[in-house]
Each structure stands twice: as structure tokens, then as C-alpha cells.
């Protein structure tokens, strides 16, 4: 079992934890956190898969893609947080309306 495989599996775990948080938590800030955890997991998995060959030079293409992804994730986070604050100032709530609940 190599270190790279360990990190790829940790990436899988992060994807799972993030998806769970995204579905279960109702506070929008927590959903933004969960979305960021998912993206970190995907980056780890992608970079892990790119280093399957033992001892070789790391593949620069997935590295560049992950770099791009990190920047896009930050931009998306900023937009999501701004939308959450706009929702809060418009309705006073920090979670989305849930039509399945009776509360």
C-alpha cells in the first residue's frame, strides 16, 4: 500500500463526508463548507490517480488542473457566501425553504 493510494483513499473519504454534510446540514454556511470539502476530496483523488506510477515525475497536467480548480472553488465560495448574505438580508433566514417539512 503506497502513500499515494492512502491519500487517494483519503480523498474518497473527504468526498463522502462532504456529500453527507451537503445533504444533511441545513445551514447554508455549512453547505458551503461541505462543498469545499468535496472539492478538496476530488483534487486529492485526481492528483493521487496522476501519481500511480511509482517513483516517476509527477504528471504536470493534473497538477495544473487542480491549481485551476482551487482558484475556481475560491471564486464559487465567494459568490455562494454573497448569495447567502443577500438571502439573509432579504428574508432573515440562513437556510433554504424546505417544502417537505411541516414547521
Amino acid at each position: 500500500m503506497s502513500s499515494v493510494l492512502v491519500f487517494a483513499l483519503a480523498g474518497l473519504g473527504l468526498i463522502g463526508l462532504g456529500l453527507y454534510g451537503l445533504l444533511v446540514q441545513r445551514h447554508l454556511l455549512r453547505k458551503v463548507l461541505a462543498f469545499n470539502v468535496i472539492s478538496s476530496g476530488i483534487f486529492l483523488l485526481l492528483a493521487g490517480l496522476a501519481r500511480r506510477a511509482p517513483g516517476a515525475e509527477p504528471d504536470p497536467v493534473p497538477q495544473a488542473m487542480v491549481l485551476t480548480g482551487i482558484v475556481v472553488a475560491v471564486a464559487a465560495t465567494a459568490l455562494a457566501l454573497a448569495m447567502m448574505l443577500a438571502l439573509r438580508s432579504a428574508t432573515g433566514r440562513t437556510r433554504l425553504e424546505d417544502h417537505g417539512d411541516e414547521d
Partner: protein, 321 residues
């Protein structure tokens, strides 16, 4: 001997998962955000272990730094300062909020179990797919290696970002700009009082800001042959902007109009202009003419660094000036 690195990596991986679990499930939002920032820092270490120094730099500056600052700023706006409202009222509000939180903070337990089971099945499938894929494959390293001499830079990651996969980077700059347009159309920048920053913060920012600008300049230059480049440099510049903003410095009113907007679009504009201009020299879109790759990449990187730094700082300020 070879067991020790594996043990360290196992500990790092378990720390990652533990921090993620705590960040997503801690009842206190502030604690959740702080744990999330810690997750970003540990992730930076993991990237170093994976020999991806570029990603480590970006992760720590952006994933932990700028995202953390964004989250903390949003949290501060969500929770109005307790000292400014009547204390009794605040306490009442907090209890009311706590009660609704207890009832509605999560989905019901049966639903949660169902979701967890579904996700476990999904993860098992994904894990199996990863296991099946786990045969050594050369990937694209050899291809990049073979064409590196033509790329204008000596560092493969920068070559991929600004030459071989220029489209990605151009569109990424556009995405950053779009996010800022979205944020600006949602709100105007909060009016800040004229309060003096704390003396320690003011002194520290006077020391740190010039250093950070220097580090950014170094990173953008060194990106041609070592880990570094426009995105890392831009994030350091953005962090300097956040620090300056926190210590009370702001742009003069005359500079927040078109000069600010010019800096914000400079990266996309220069990249798109060079990408289109090369068509006149019988090159495909975004294909640099032979011998011109180095100056073209340098110009794009300098413009992109300025724009990325300005956009990140503007995203943190959060609102149209």
C-alpha cells in the same frame, strides 16, 4: 525505514478525515470555520508529500487563507456584534435561534441514516473504480517533457497552465471575474467607520504588506523554472490586500472608478488580446509564434497576477465600491 513515511502519511490522512468530520458537524459555526481552515493547512502538507509544491502554495494561500478570510467575514456579517445591541435582547434572540437550530439544523435521523447508507454504497463503487484504475500509467508527463523546450518556460506546470492548456487558464480568469461581477451585483461595499486599527495590527501590516508584495513579485518570476507563477503570486497579493483592508487602508475615491476596473479586467484582457493577436501571425488561437512564447507568457503572467490579486481582495471586501 520505509514504514516511517507511510506512517506519517497515514496520520496525515486520518487527520484530514477527522478535521473534515469535525468541521462539518461541530455545533458552533465559528469553530466549524476554524476547523475548516485547519483542514486547508493539513491539506497543504499533504500536497507537499505528493510532490505538488505548486498546489501546496495555492492551497495554503487560497484554500486556507482567502477562503478562511471569506468565511470569517461572512460569519461576522451573519452574527451581529453582541456589544452593540441590548444584551437581554441578544440573549433572547440567541436562545430562540438555538431552539430553532436544534430542531432544524439537520435532517431527521431516519433520513440521515438512509443518506449515509446510500453514500456508503456510492463510495464503495467509487473506491472499486479507483482500485481498478490503479495500474501505473505514464499519463501526459512524457508529452509535456518532449515539448517543454518550445513552451517558453522551463517548468512543466507553468508550461501547461500558460501554453499547452491556455484555454483553461483564460477561462479560469474569466470565472474569477464573473464571480466578482456576481458579488458586486448583489451588494454594495459596506461603509466602514473611521475607527483606528489596533496598534499591533497597524504596525504588523506596515511590515508585512511590502514583504508580501515582494514575495508575489518573486513568485511570478520564479514560476518560469520552479514552483510559482501567476496564481500563487496573485493569491499572495490578494492576501496583502485583505491585510491592508483589515488594518484600515482603503483606495482613494478617485481610484475606485475605472482605474480599479481596469486592473480587475487586465488579466483577461491581456490574455485574450495576445491569444487573438497571434492569429495574425498564422498561429492557432492562443498559440504563440516560435520565439515569442517567453515574452508573451511573462506579459500574461504579470497582468494576471495583478488582476487575480485585485479580484481576490475585492471578493473579500464583498460589494461594489
Amino acid at each position: 525505514m520505509s514504514l516511517l513515511p507511510l506512517a506519517i502519511d497515514l496520520v496525515l490522512a486520518l487527520t484530514l478525515l477527522w478535521l473534515a468530520w469535525r468541521a462539518l458537524n461541530s455545533p458552533d459555526l465559528f469553530r466549524a470555520v476554524v476547523l475548516f481552515i485547519a483542514l486547508g493547512l493539513v491539506l497543504g502538507l499533504v500536497w507537499v508529500r505528493l510532490d505538488a509544491v505548486d498546489i501546496a502554495l495555492a492551497e495554503i494561500a487560497l484554500g486556507a487563507g482567502v477562503t478562511g478570510a471569506l468565511l470569517l467575514a461572512a460569519l461576522a456579517k451573519l452574527q451581529p456584534a453582541a456589544s452593540q445591541t441590548d444584551e437581554l435582547q441578544t440573549a433572547e434572540l440567541q436562545t430562540a435561534e438555538l431552539q430553532t437550530d436544534q430542531a432544524a439544523v439537520m435532517a431527521p435521523i431516519a433520513l440521515r441514516l438512509f443518506i449515509a447508507l446510500l453514500l456508503l454504497a456510492f463510495l464503495a463503487g467509487l473506491g472499486f473504480a479507483v482500485w481498478q484504475l490503479w495500474v501505473p500509467a505514464p499519463g501526459l508527463s512524457n508529452l509535456v517533457e518532449a515539448r517543454l523546450d518550445e513552451s517558453g518556460v522551463a517548468y512543466p506546470v507553468t508550461a501547461v497552465l500558460l501554453n499547452f492548456r491556455g484555454y483553461d487558464t483564460l477561462l479560469e480568469l474569466a470565472v474569477l471575474l464573473l464571480a466578482l461581477i456576481g458579488v458586486w451585483s448583489l451588494s454594495t461595499a459596506p461603509h466602514l467607520g473611521d475607527e483606528e486599527p489596533e496598534p499591533a495590527l497597524a504596525a504588523l501590516s506596515r511590515l508585512l504588506a511590502p514583504l508580501m508584495i515582494l514575495v508575489a513579485a518573486y513568485l511570478v518570476w520564479v514560476g518560469a523554472y520552479a514552483p510559482g507563477g501567476a496564481f500563487q503570486a496573485g493569491s499572495v497579493l490578494g492576501a496583502a490586500g485583505v491585510l491592508l483592508r483589515l488594518s484600515g487602508w482603503r483606495l482613494s475615491l478617485s481610484a475606485t472608478g475605472w482605474p480599479l476596473r481596469l486592473v480587475l479586467v487586465l488579466g483577461v484582457a491581456v490574455f485574450a488580446f495576445i491569444g487573438l493577436a497571434v492569429i495574425g501571425f498564422d498561429q492557432p488561437l492562443l498559440g504563440y509564434p516560435p520565439g515569442w512564447a517567453k515574452p508573451a507568457i511573462l506579459a500574461i503572467e504579470l497582468a494576471a497576477t495583478l488582476s487575480i490579486g485585485a479580484i481576490l481582495a475585492a471578493l473579500f471586501i464583498g460589494g461594489r465600491p
